[in-house]
Symmetry: C2
DNA sequence: CGCCGAGTTGAACTGAATCAAGAAACGTGG
DNA sequence: CCACGTTTCTTGATTCAGTTCAACTCGGCG
């Protein structure tokens, strides 16, 4: 995939960009090809990077009191970043690691700010990406308010049916706010009444 | 407060707007003065309105299986809307009601879209408001993942110390994902060890 | 006054966590 | 391609934070 094709893909997936904006963007884009378990961000770093995933997947997680709690997954054609650090200029509370060998592109905050100031349609692209993220978070909050462990697992399967094949159950469990043991019991049909 | 002062306030609180944009915006703005318990949005409506609160407060809530669960509070200088309906053009799962006599301004999606298309700085304003909302949701998710009932209550007091005086405890409890009884026990110092 | 909604208190119950042990799958080097 | 160690997942027993249900108190208001 060439840079131009990638940018065309982003433009198509989220919001159209003028050719001029696409061209300038393509100058900034660098393609990363990294192995499973590579760390994109570590806790405490000031991370001003955002990653767009072309292939593979990643997770953002907190390490708190020795517990590893997944906060977000990113798959193909999605962005992932330490949103707190990226938007508030604070040290990242998140780690971000790859869960598969992946191909990504990286954009820095300063590049995004420059393009947002220069191109109205780039500003709109960012607005739309942030809006989609916000709506996903809204769903996650509703899911935590309304559903028990089993329903939450069904919900995530409805959104991403391949997740259980691609991501260790531990991470899915912590993402759902349940323990690995509980998830294991849910998945075992013998435990159905 | 005149319309111009209100718009200046928004521009100052979130992101600066050019005079031209401020002028066009002020043509669209209508000021609402409504009593406590007034409904801004009802479930099932296609709500394409967003409200900016000048004075007072409001809550968005779900009614599910006869349970009333608060999803969001809005106070002075904040926006409130049924974000799902507003952004996805679907019927609202939320009700929105006023918790105090309030003064609001109302903007429709079509007005916001028009201004976003016409003015780059208005697009940016919206991007910034959405980003702030997203970061608040991020905090809410982290709060639900990491904290027990008592800590969640302390967290919300740290953010909005006046909430317990302005909002019935039932709504605070459901917002925190706990029952009214649990909140009552938390607040009672006799239950401390 | 007496009623009504909001909040408190108590006792029993429960979904999920924790603790502990073992089984299965995975991958890495010989 | 197999053996061995590590990581991932399962299963069981026990515990606990918070829910549920029910009765009661308090304060405001017609």
């Amino acid at each position: 995939m060439t840079k131009e094709e990638i940018i065309h893909k982003i433009s198509e997936t989220y919001s159209p960009l003028t050719l001029e904006c696409q061209q300038e963007l393509s100058e900034y884009v660098s393609i990363l090809s990294l192995k499973k378990n590579a760390m994109l961000v570590k806790e405490g770093q000031y991370s001003d990077k955002s990653f767009f995933i072309l292939k593979g997947c990643a997770r953002a997680y907190y390490l708190r009191d020795g517990k590893d709690i997944t906060d977000w997954f990113g798959f193909e054609n999605e962005f992932i970043s330490s949103i707190i650090s990226f938007f508030t200029h604070q040290p990242s509370p998140h780690y971000i690691e790859l869960l598969e060998d992946s191909i990504l592109i990286e954009l820095s905050r300063s590049q995004i700010e420059h393009l947002s100031n220069k191109y109205h349609d780039f500003e709109r692209l960012i607005r739309i990406i942030v809006t989609k993220t916000m709506l996903s978070q809204q769903e996650k909050i509703a899911s935590m308010q309304f559903y028990n462990a089993e329903q939450k697992y069904e919900n995530i399967l409805a959104i991403r049916s391949d997740i259980a094949h691609r991501v260790p159950l531990t991470h899915i469990a912590s993402y759902l706010g349940i323990t690995l043991e509980t998830l294991s019991r849910i998945r075992n049909p013998k435990n159905r009444i």
